[in-house]
């Protein structure tokens, strides 16, 4: 196996990680330096191999030179591994423990009614004159949320009464307390969901599902 010359090894390690053009330029410059130094040492009587070795020795620590050329300390695979582990750890911690990241923000989405929603609506009041409007809503709230307030605004007084109920994730239906004023035109009905951590908390927050039931004015 061909043994790599100390000069080549030094240049390769000193310029590792530099952008390609800068690396070529710096490598050429250091090679000229080391070759001239080798020639001078040979002129003093040192054999070539020893002269090359001494020339490289006089350059000092190759790792220090490489760090200084790069301008940062992450010159080894171990350094990058440490950075990788730290970033992965920070990412995992943020994902699991922090609530401010966007996918943990409160979200409220309407979905198509299912048969259970209709059955629930009918259970609430079987004396509906006409079919009620049923709007299932899925909530997601950040971990640690205790109360979620949701407002339903009637359109132009078309609706007389609005029920709101919610179910915990994998839980049972529970009707929310009705706030006064929801019968007035465009007056929001505030709905408070009292979230219980024991029942709802997943690592990413609370999940709940509710259904708004609105009946027409007769």
């Amino acid at each position: 196996m061909l043994k790599r010359k100390p000069i080549d090894t030094y240049i390769r390690r000193a310029t590792a990680g530099l952008p390609r053009l800068e690396r070529v330029d710096t490598a050429a410059e250091i090679r000229v330096h080391l070759l001239q130094k080798t020639r001078e040492l040979m002129a003093q009587g040192f054999p070539r191999e020893e002269a090359e070795h001494l020339a490289v020795q006089e350059m000092g620590s190759v790792a220090e030179t490489n760090r200084a050329l790069l301008g940062h300390v992450f010159t080894s695979s171990l350094g990058w591994a440490v950075v990788g582990v730290m970033l992965a750890g920070a990412g995992a911690w943020t994902y699991l423990e922090r609530d401010w990241i966007f996918w943990k923000d409160t979200t409220i989405k309407s979905t198509a009614p299912e048969s259970r929603d209709i059955q629930f609506a009918m259970r609430q009041n079987s004396s509906f004159a006409v079919s009620p409007q049923i709007v299932p809503i899925n909530f997601h709230a950040p971990r640690g949320t205790r109360t979620l307030e949701y407002a339903i605004i009637s359109k132009h007084g078309q609706y007389q009464k609005t029920f709101f109920a919610f179910e915990w994730f994998k839980g049972d239906w529970t009707e929310t307390p009705a706030f006064p004023g929801f019968e007035s035109d465009r007056v929001p009905m505030h709905v408070s969901l009292l979230l219980c951590e024991e029942q709802l908390t997943t690592k990413l927050g609370h999940n709940a599902r509710g259904v708004a039931i609105e009946t027409s004015i007769q």
Binding site: A28, R31, H33, K37, R39, E64, T65
Partner: protein
Amino acid sequence: MDPKRIDLDLVLLATLEQGALYGLEIIKEVNTRTDGALEFKEGSLYPALHRLVKANWVETTWQPSTSGGPPRKYYQLTDSGAKACQQKKLEWEQTRNALDALMSKFLEVIPC
């Protein structure tokens, strides 16, 4: 003496004031002018020079060797490099004067 403690930038800028030099020439020039008092590892020279280039204090050109070897990369002060050198010399003089004053009082109290 470790040049890092006395501002390697100033050492290099002051050395290049006399004209364009290549790396090994700079080291030899520093050794000659300081009688070998300033010694630095040759490997630390190039990162320092590259830093000066990035600061636009020094510019480089590859020139053919006069002694028949491969071309060499010469470093030369720019105008802003010359100004920076003057500023650093001034700062150095102020520091040296302050230290001289301090040490003269110290030596009066505790004669060596």
